[in-house]
Symmetry: C2
Amino acid sequence: SPVLKLAVIEGDGIGKEVVPQGLRALRAALEPIGVTVETTDFDLGAGRWHRTGETLTDEDMERLAEHDAILLGAVGDPEVPSGVLERGLLLKLRFGFDHYVNLRPTKLMPGVASPLKDPGDMDFLVVREGTEGPYVGNGGSMRTGTDLEVATEVSLNTAVGVERVVRYAFEQAEARRKKLTLVHKHNVLVHAGHLWRRIVEEVGAEHPDVAVDYAHVDAAMIYLATDPGRFDVIVTDNLFGDIVTDLAAAVGGGIGLAASGNLNPSGAYPSMFEPVHGSAPDIAGQNLADPTATVLSVALLLDHLGHVEPAAAVRAAVESDLAARTDSEELARRGTTQIGDALVAAISGR
Amino acid sequence: SPVLKLAVIEGDGIGKEVVPQGLRALRAALEPIGVTVETTDFDLGAGRWHRTGETLTDEDMERLAEHDAILLGAVGDPEVPSGVLERGLLLKLRFGFDHYVNLRPTKLMPGVASPLKDPGDMDFLVVREGTEGPYVGNGGSMRTGTDLEVATEVSLNTAVGVERVVRYAFEQAEARRKKLTLVHKHNVLVHAGHLWRRIVEEVGAEHPDVAVDYAHVDAAMIYLATDPGRFDVIVTDNLFGDIVTDLAAAVGGGIGLAASGNLNPSGAYPSMFEPVHGSAPDIAGQNLADPTATVLSVALLLDHLGHVEPAAAVRAAVESDLAARTDSEELARRGTTQIGDALVAAISGR
Ligand SMILES: CC(C)[C@H](C(=O)O)[C@@H](O)C(=O)O
Ligand SMILES: CC(C)[C@H](C(=O)O)[C@@H](O)C(=O)O
């Protein structure tokens, strides 16, 4: 029977609790179509770094590359200096495996509370570029630590890099409500901005049925807070995407529900799926974390591997579980494993 | 009698309507202390650019420099290419007059609706750096317009530039609720981020009574959408400040109320005050624009010039006018000049 070879990075904190529930959901969803899941655990994150000083070795990368996909929980703890795991692990994975599409859907599901008074119908997809922009790590400092320090950060953008992610975004828009919004700041960041604009225009000409819109990143903030229903597909650069998707998660029901996929659509490298939330050391180890964002990331994983029906089953299970929570204080008080139990039961049709 | 020499840039669209109301409010506020206002009109913006191709000449800069302050409405229209007036006029003013503090208060005033269900007590001040970061215009492109284009944007940050704005922010925090939050993204933009962190730590050591906090810009989005009351003073870089303040304006009652000051606290150059909104060509010329953001910018101008009581009178007038609007459909339907009338009457105590 067909086998899905999955690399598993539980990471730190609540990552260790939510990932097992994600795996249960994955197995339950694939069972009806006879696909079995073979997992390889990777010891990566703050724990390993504290013990060995390693973040992600070449050997890790080679072994990860042998898998069909990667599921990651969350990495980090307060004792690791800022940037060590971000640059040395998370971004190294995204850049090393050329995850040029960072996919982050926002859908306000029935029964889920938004902090907005009038959230309207919120159902949009942010396609964030994942391998360029201010995230490339091209910067430095001189006279560091002195009164004369100068520090730089360079945003690098290429036509090739922009075009491939813009193409992906247009394809998504074609399959959805046929609207695409470019978010940038081309009135100030004129060079990068004009490159993005030109590519969106050029690729847009091949998709005459997709309505193309533009918002400066600052204006996008206002729209997300007052009229998020206006968006269908948003395409944007790496840094703006980081900002836009956290606000999207907040207005869309909270970071506890936000899923993401770091995709290499060509299939040359395994794609990576992770909840947007962090390792939450304050609540770790207490069965308090909500595994829903991880389970929704599993749905993105299933979609990516072409298992569209299992993905739909996972989403349906999440939707009905979320709706049920609002009616019941008891359900709202469940812990990590209990939510996992309920989702697995719903996916299996039990 | 003492004279305030004010440079006035009405600009385009609703700029031409809101600025006259701002001037009336300014004169009414200064009347009781016997200060008269002498204005010089500057023809700058889309109109001038269409006629002459000029954005802001050296001669304009020299004449502007002879004034105590600048009041600007809004510039731009859809026919001006993106970036022309932003880089050539607005940013040229900010950089040329070394406006290193971009001050943007958010206070949810009684009677004003927020899009948030539970906005809480929202009263914070964003101190945005105004002369560095990704706004410096240090970028370019090669193989432009081809499939092999590479475009860059360079964020430049100096210890001198960061320190002066951080100092200003700590002084503001001392005079307020003694809390300062640095917003950055130091886990990814490590060089610029670590410079900002170091300076905040160093200056913070001189202000032991100010509690210092940190939020990544993405997390700041979540806080602004779910718990804006946590903030007192936010200090941040030019681009993050642009993004944070538009979201702040949105959750704080809308861009129609958001005021800003571009300050050169040394007094070497005139500071500039402007509403955060744009020229809104869709509603221009119809007496529909709300001049409140401009009038609140006048309050910042008065504060900056040391006229603390007139500034307070302007704010009190705005607060009572906003509160009155909620109770009366008639008041809510007023036009630009009618709101101006009401504010002037309130400031004059009539
Ligand atoms: C942890 C950090 C490097 C990361 C990012 O900035 O991309 C996170 O915020 C995210 O959005 O996945
Ligand atoms: C018009 C633009 C250059 C400007 C900025 O980005 O600073 C505006 O958005 C603002 O916030 O004042």
